[in-house]
Symmetry: C2
Subunit: 233 residues, 2 copies
């Protein structure tokens, strides 16, 4: 599915009556990602996609059976972007840290796309490559078999969940940019005495650096993994 077609007549962005090989899965996925990036999380429609591609909205159905399937393709594209140029380090912790940062950054750069995809299984080639990259680092550390799988699952669950949640929050706040006041200060409820700690810390609570929390948690996990390391052979 990823093989590029003959590309016989790829006249860039026509407006009426496209030629035969004008649309490809890659082109469509790229357009979808661009649309998701530019604004609201709900902005990905067939109409918008058609405009972006200079084609009829329904033309896309020749390449994808449903909106759903486009989203899944975007998911794999996101993974591809994340592990593009990735090179494993000699130090397994650095490899995992690098992979974690890549996931976080890619998701943060494409929040709307990430929030719709991070919890999905794409079965795509890049997803499997990413799994393999993590497993490679885990093996490098010294784990094998079931133990390796356990550490892979813990690491990837943590990284995906935190990066995806961050993307979802980013996307949600971009969506309502320009509405009521930000939740920053309004964290104050009716009766302060029922929530004494929140009231006392009202000025400190709103300031969250989610990236720092993420990095902290990744380091916590890496430390724990290091302490669990199997005896060297």
């Amino acid at each position: 599915m990823v093989v590029a077609p003959k590309a016989t007549a790829r006249r860039a962005g026509q407006h009426r009556g496209l030629n035969r090989g004008s649309l490809t899965r890659e082109l469509i996925v790229g357009a979808a990602l661009r649309i998701l990036d530019e604004g609201t999380a709900a902005g990905l429609t067939f109409a918008r996609l058609g405009k972006e591609l200079g084609a009829s909205p329904t033309a896309v159905y020749r390449h994808f059976p449903s909106r759903e399937s486009i989203v899944i393709a975007v998911a794999d594209e996101l993974i591809r972007l994340a592990i593009e140029d990735y090179e494993p380090s000699d130090v397994w912790e650095d490899s995992l840290r690098d992979l974690a940062e890549r996931a976080w950054n890619t998701f943060a750069q494409h929040p709307a796309a990430a929030m719709h995809t991070f919890y999905r299984v794409t079965r795509g080639p890049h997803e499997i490559a990413a799994v393999d990259a993590i497993l490679a680092a885990v093996h490098q550390a010294g784990w094998t078999g079931r133990e390796a799988v356990l550490h892979y699952q813990t690491f990837s669950t943590l990284v995906l969940a935190l990066s995806g949640s961050n993307a979802a929050r980013l996307s949600a706040s971009l969506d309502r940019a320009g509405e009521g006041p930000e939740w920053m200060q309004e964290y104050l409820p009716a009766d302060p005495s029922r929530v004494p700690y929140v009231s006392a810390l009202r000025d400190d609570l709103p300031q969250t650096d989610r990236r720092r929390v993420f990095q902290r948690l990744v380091e916590v996990l890496l430390d724990t993994m290091r302490a669990d390391l199997p005896a060297k052979s």
Copy 2:
């Protein structure tokens, strides 16, 4: 907004022409949660809501300005359910563990609702109560001020992200129950040599107990917190 109305004429589930006080925010939120629980994540529509309430679909607009606002109310309801009957323990670790389990369980019981809400800020009373409960445990452990906030953020980020991601995955797999084969075995790509570790572990990879991974990560965090504990006064 949470104050129950006079409840003058709450004739349960009529079918035509409801009386005046028949609908309340609570009734609507309950119906919305029921609808989300029964099936697809996209099943929450005004039409469906009207049917569930035995009212006109548009009647709901008298209590909520938009679909979005209903979802936010459901979010706060979910938090309410999660911390219902919560009692802090004498041991701060037990309190945090309990809160973590409650979030996980509630989200797992209402996957569709959770996946649409876990990344949102409701500003509702229950959200604030939950924050306060976590902060109470953190203070009990001995942290105050900015340090307390940091530990609160780390804990809640971890728990919400993991519980929410789990809900999203649960909801997604419920949605496509009865489609193609589960992703269990098909994790095998084109060229096995490009992904040696995945190929070697193909039989172990599919078996994930996400709850166990969650509990593991919570314990890892609690251990790290314990090690960072401030000196006793």
